[in-house]
């Protein structure tokens, strides 16, 4: 027999949004709980920087809170939040590349400190060979750097769909494009990653 507590249905995103609009701040806490891991994971893959990830994901929630009244379809809170997040991440990347900020997490970033791997750099003699890298955890690091180099749409589509396993329809909604376009972005991103890693 089912536990009585299990039978109590969790409120939907839409219901929570209505509660927040009605003045129940605690309902927003539940929305944050539901989406903060996904938000952080997407932000991290888009920014490749932990500090920026924390700031941008936090800012995304606060923007969402401030603009909650403008959300036409409360049930679509998740995709809406992810769109805010991806826009903020994109802006952060642009300002970062403009300012050439010094890297705070050097191991994951290129020598120029702007978060981009410089694929034209001569290989470091102390670095493992590409084969060895590909065999181990370094492969993921290389992948992360290669993802960082992808064009924005391809990167967002790949991160949301292939890494975070978000439904294609939802990704299309966030990126404001068709599902077919998402498929193509994901494929193009994968192909570029494969070709880039093969060149190493």
């Amino acid at each position: 027999m089912e536990n009585k507590a299990d039978m109590v249905q969790e409120p939907t995103d839409g219901q929570l949004v209505f509660r927040v609009r009605g003045g129940q701040a605690a309902a927003f806490d539940e929305l944050v709980r539901r989406y903060q891991r996904q938000a952080a994971a997407v932000a991290y893959r888009l920014l490749n920087n932990r500090d920026d990830t924390m700031e941008v994901s936090q800012e995304a929630f606060l923007r969402a809170y401030d603009k909650l009244d403008t959300l036409d379809k409360p049930e679509r809170f998740g995709p809406w939040l992810m769109r805010i997040l991806s826009n903020l991440a994109l802006n952060r990347r642009r300002s970062r590349s403009l300012r050439k900020m010094a890297s705070l997490d050097a191991p994951l970033r290129g020598a120029d400190g702007d978060g981009r791997a410089d694929w034209t750099d001569p290989p470091d003699a102390n670095m493992p060979t590409p084969l060895a890298q590909a065999a181990g955890a370094d492969m993921r690091e290389l992948l992360a750097r290669a993802i960082d180099e992808l064009p924005e749409m391809q990167k967002q589509a790949l991160v949301m769909f292939s890494l975070q396993k978000m439904p294609q329809k939802q990704v299309a909604e966030i990126l404001d494009c068709s599902v077919e376009a998402v498929k193509w972005h994901v494929f193009t991103a994968r192909k570029k990653l494969k070709d880039k890693l093969a060149d190493l």
């Binding site: 936090q58 993802i147 292939s162 498929k183 494929f187 994968r190 192909k191 494969k194």
Partner: protein
């Protein structure tokens, strides 16, 4: 017409990895893989890469989500308080401004109405001639009304119809219809004058018609 994507085997592999391929498309790819060892190698590379992508997606970010949530909610509460404080502080100001705006608008409308409607600016109570001190055609008018608060003195008086006084033709004082200009709009109050009468010399008193 054949979709170009159908013959783009790498695209088909990408779809296959995502579980989006079935039916004839899946059969076509499988047949192709059987006869093309290079495509099998390509598939292997994509599979290997997807495994790494999956691992990246599962990677622990070592973020204290409870602390982050607490921080977000603290800021949310701060904004709520600030918002409601602002609302409380701003509301009386807005009400006062609204009332002031209504008063100003009402006053403006009344003013315009008074200045534009005939006889509303002021009412000429009396017009007196002062032949000794004034030029011909001038008069002393006493004007009262809501906007011209009991003005008394020499005002611009235009005699539309100047008539010589029959009793004293030499004086040729205004008679008939005298127009007294009141205010900037030139709104006038018309006053029917009577025939003027001879005034004592140096008489400074107003002479009432």
């Amino acid at each position: 017409m054949v979709d170009k994507r159908e013959t783009n085997w790498e695209f088909q592999i990408s779809q296959y990895l995502d579980g989006l391929l079935d039916g004839p498309a899946l059969a076509r790819l499988q047949a192709r893989l059987e006869e093309d060892p290079q495509l099998r190698e390509t598939l292997r590379q994509y599979q290997l890469m997807q495994e790494q992508l999956d691992a990246l997606g599962r990677e622990d970010l070592a973020i204290d989500f409870d602390a982050q949530r607490a921080e977000i909610m603290a800021e949310v509460r701060r904004r709520r308080t600030r918002g409601s404080w602002r609302a409380r502080a701003v509301r009386p100001v807005l009400i006062a401004l609204s009332v002031a705006a209504v008063v100003v608008v009402a006053w403006g409308v009344l003013t315009i109405a008074r200045w534009t409607l005939p006889g509303q600016a002021g009412r000429v109570e009396s017009v007196a001639l002062r032949p000794a001190a004034l030029q011909q055609g001038q008069a002393v008018a006493s004007v009262v009304g809501p906007l011209v608060d009991n003005i008394k003195g020499v005002v611009s008086v235009q005699a539309r119809r100047m008539q010589a006084s029959p009793s004293n033709p030499a004086k040729s004082s205004p008679a008939g219809l005298v127009v007294v200009s009141v205010g900037a709009t030139g709104q006038a109050e018309e006053c029917e004058t009577k025939e003027s009468q001879a005034l004592p010399p140096n008489d400074t008193d107003t002479y009432w018609f």
